[in-house]
Symmetry: C2
Subunit: 333 residues, 2 copies
Amino acid sequence: MSGNWRPPSSTDVARAAGVSQSAVSRAFTPGARIAEATRAKVMAAAEALGYRPNLLPKILQTNRSGIVAVVVGGFYNPYFAMTLEAFSLALTAAGRQMLLVRVDSDRVLDGVVDQLAGYRVDAVVSALALTSQDAADQLAKLRIPIVTLNSDLAGDWIRSVSSDNFAAGEAAARLLHARGGTRFGFVAGPADSPAQVAREAGFAQGLASLGLPPAVRAGGGYDYASGEAAARALFAGPERPDAVFCANDLAAFGVIDTLREAFDLKVPDDVLVVGYDNLDMAAWAPYRLTSFDQDVEALVEAAMALLSVEAGATCVARTVPSQLVERESTRRR
Amino acid sequence: MSGNWRPPSSTDVARAAGVSQSAVSRAFTPGARIAEATRAKVMAAAEALGYRPNLLPKILQTNRSGIVAVVVGGFYNPYFAMTLEAFSLALTAAGRQMLLVRVDSDRVLDGVVDQLAGYRVDAVVSALALTSQDAADQLAKLRIPIVTLNSDLAGDWIRSVSSDNFAAGEAAARLLHARGGTRFGFVAGPADSPAQVAREAGFAQGLASLGLPPAVRAGGGYDYASGEAAARALFAGPERPDAVFCANDLAAFGVIDTLREAFDLKVPDDVLVVGYDNLDMAAWAPYRLTSFDQDVEALVEAAMALLSVEAGATCVARTVPSQLVERESTRRR
DNA sequence: TTGTAGGCGTTATCAG
DNA sequence: CTGATAACGCCTACAA
């Protein structure tokens, strides 16, 4: 156990195999011109020494690390897990590594930019609404492509993928109306989420174009507790909604549980509920929640495609349709 | 938009500032001896060029990347999300980066070892039961420390942290007995999970030491569907259990929903249920599930401590007690 | 305090 | 087909 040990280098292998360092490099380069005998000698020596090629020198020369940084704001929402899972698979399939960066706020991301630049990450994927134009500009200056999910930033090195939040909002309005809703409620997500804004706008537009009264509004977060609070607010008065669109599933669960527990209201008999994200849980017995499937696969596929787009290309934004999955929460018997 | 652009190097900055490259290096090294005037010149030039120090050369020389690889097996379980979240915070606080590696099976990890070695990751954290001794040995040969969570591997470079699964199993037995359970059921996790094995063994031991009959057994997975299937199996016959310990919360939810839907049994009135992990969802109205909190914070803290332990140190395994959180699922009225 | 020179481990280029 | 050599960008002696 020597104090300062160093992993075996190609030079070490070369010495052991009695060849030059270049020969070792060639032995590990697919498709390189090298005699089979030489390759065998090298491989034997490499095996004996436990040699693994160091990737850093190559990165140093090419400035391409094969690492993609994925920035997330928190893991409380299973939706992030779905996204991460899909990204992880896609990146692995593309032979790239994923550097996971968690930021509490955009200010923190600013601090992380130096690190990301230092590691020469090939690209940054922002799965949270990265509203900081400043951080985006810094990355752009470094010519690091950014792919944002459900965001509304724009710029040379910024590409974005969104699910069609506006259209989903409209569809929610049509569905709730078709299923017999007359007094509408909207449980909002955080105000700084472009996705939330678009969903709400679409919902409002959908109601308006059907000649229906606007929705009563409550909420302000994407979590369960927000849904609970929103339900309490919406159903406290005498004019209770009978059809509620929630900015996401997690909030919808909070709404449903609160309706049952605190107001003794049944879903869908007394109130219709629609969510967004189509989490696994949406299919569970206590909820059977009608929801919009963001089609994470497609979202990620689009994002991966945008990662490889050259700078200044025309296609910088893509929208992926979300699909309505209807369950019992909007099916009155 | 030149085709092959290269980020500004310290040499570029030096040229722009009219100083030597080493002066730039010193300007960016905290506590280096450099005249204030020189530093100012350098900083101005750096700012103008958008220079960020490249971390790779340093890594190349020190073989310390500041990157910790976290290996996970899937994200379907919110428990992984909790763990990731905690690790992410801890690593960031320690000024390190997290490379997230998802593997489908241990065989795949073997393939990833080369990559991890190539990037010179400082350590590997395995949040899945990394049962492949082979992969572990490979990493050990490379002198890359491994910290495994809830695993039972051993070796020079392997350290492990576990929650006290056995003790929790015993506690579950005591609790279910104290709350009036007489016929016991166990909903198992995957057979290759050491945590599952320990929980089951502890449960069996707990029942035995109370002079109770052994538990009927079903299941074999950590997900909701496994819980559903296990409940169907356990409650199909005439001898139905009235107290069930589930290897984790997700399975417990499946059990509870199935009892309600398929067997018209009430929890806790007809059946007592205990889970493991204490997910956020365990507190939700439809479940109010008694569960064991793994104390992820402590688990991660312990893991972080083990990351810095020198090779050959004596402390290679730590156990973190899990805390029982009792809710309505075990409180008969 | 500052500049010069060597080396980290690899790939690419070129001469043999 | 093989071996020597020059980068890549930084840090760390060492010399001025």
